[in-house]
Symmetry: C2
Subunit: 223 residues, 2 copies
Amino acid sequence: MHYPSAWLQGSSRGESIASHLRLQIINESIKPGEILSENKVAELFEASRSPVREAFKLLAGEGLIRLERMGAVVVGLDLTHIQELYDVRYLIESFAQQRLAKRDNAAMLVRLEQTVDRMKLAVKHGDEVEFAFQDFSFHEMIVQEAGHTRIWHLWNSIRSIVRTVMLLTTANSFRQGKERMEWVADKHLTVIEGLRSGNEEQIAKIVKAYFADSDETLGRSLS
Amino acid sequence: MHYPSAWLQGSSRGESIASHLRLQIINESIKPGEILSENKVAELFEASRSPVREAFKLLAGEGLIRLERMGAVVVGLDLTHIQELYDVRYLIESFAQQRLAKRDNAAMLVRLEQTVDRMKLAVKHGDEVEFAFQDFSFHEMIVQEAGHTRIWHLWNSIRSIVRTVMLLTTANSFRQGKERMEWVADKHLTVIEGLRSGNEEQIAKIVKAYFADSDETLGRSLS
DNA sequence: AAAAGACAAGTTGTATACAAGTATTCAAGA
DNA sequence: TCTTGAATACTTGTATACAACTTGTCTTTT
């Protein structure tokens, strides 16, 4: 499995290398405990140390590797870590949605619906990568629209990992059939309904249910 | 005002430059809208572009500057942004404390009490920098002890900013007299009491009160 | 006078070079 | 056989070099 090249548009060599390594680490093609050196990785990607160094800094900031005196130690993302990632996503997204509850979201809701439509289209075409992309966009849009600088930066700090995890789990979920994916897409409609209601308690309930389901989906896709 | 050199122990030239720039940006010695170029900053710090580049990446990740094609644009931290920072701190810390509620925290509580003692000693000696350091350590300890990898990384992503903001606001608060600082130190004791009780609702109430107070302190120190 | 185009200065992204420090290995001696 | 020590190879952090691109200015042309 390769990182979708379309997702690398406009990114530097360093970010590109980071994306490939990130996928392989989460993928466990590169295993926890392994030691990466700037020189070896540079040779592997046929690049110089500069962009590799940038990639290492990015991955270290995401906690996927740990920079030490002699080599970068791969930390990896086991199931526990992924569940922790969902904890954080829940924290960020419920904050964002509570903030949106008070506003007029008409324009955003239209775009969210369009996104869900694209998800369903992706199911029809059997296009996993497109589905993952739209799923990601859906959640990112909510966080962005909340208009909270710091929350947005928190999201940015896990953005790449979330995108990659979504790519992998979506690929797994697709193997459970199209009905399952339809169900996943429909789950997003409940979120839209919540936001449309503008009722804070109802939104809280829906977001909670959403991530409880996601957690269950996660367990299912990795067993 | 300079960044305390003791806080730079073990950090690379790049992190060091980042710390100095960070202080000046939050300080508004460097104003929003200004454009920094790698070459000029390198010359200023008598370093090469490599560490400056690293510093820019760090500051961009923290949202203090925005990397563009031609130069880095200073974003800065106005009062609104700082309040947003407190929102995030509240989010992180209440999550961490809720997690701690279920555990046995005897050892940690001792260390927290020691930290508060050091804060009071710092007040006695009129040592602002030491106070800020202990205050910072207090909150970092709580997040770390929660033992949640992802929350820890969220904290890491705002760590440097929080530290610097604390340094500046503490310096301001000191001008309001020692009684005020004693009061700030005592506030931390209520947090310890909460954690000792192990009661989730009580903890929630205390953390909420703590950050409400901090927000008020913030307004006071910047007006 | 105004517009268009070429040129010059400055910027980043990447590659390479160098220096300081660390781990490993291998050999020699107890 | 085990320990000790020196040498070697490899690591990162920083400095410098180069290429591609952007921007603003100045000249030339209409």
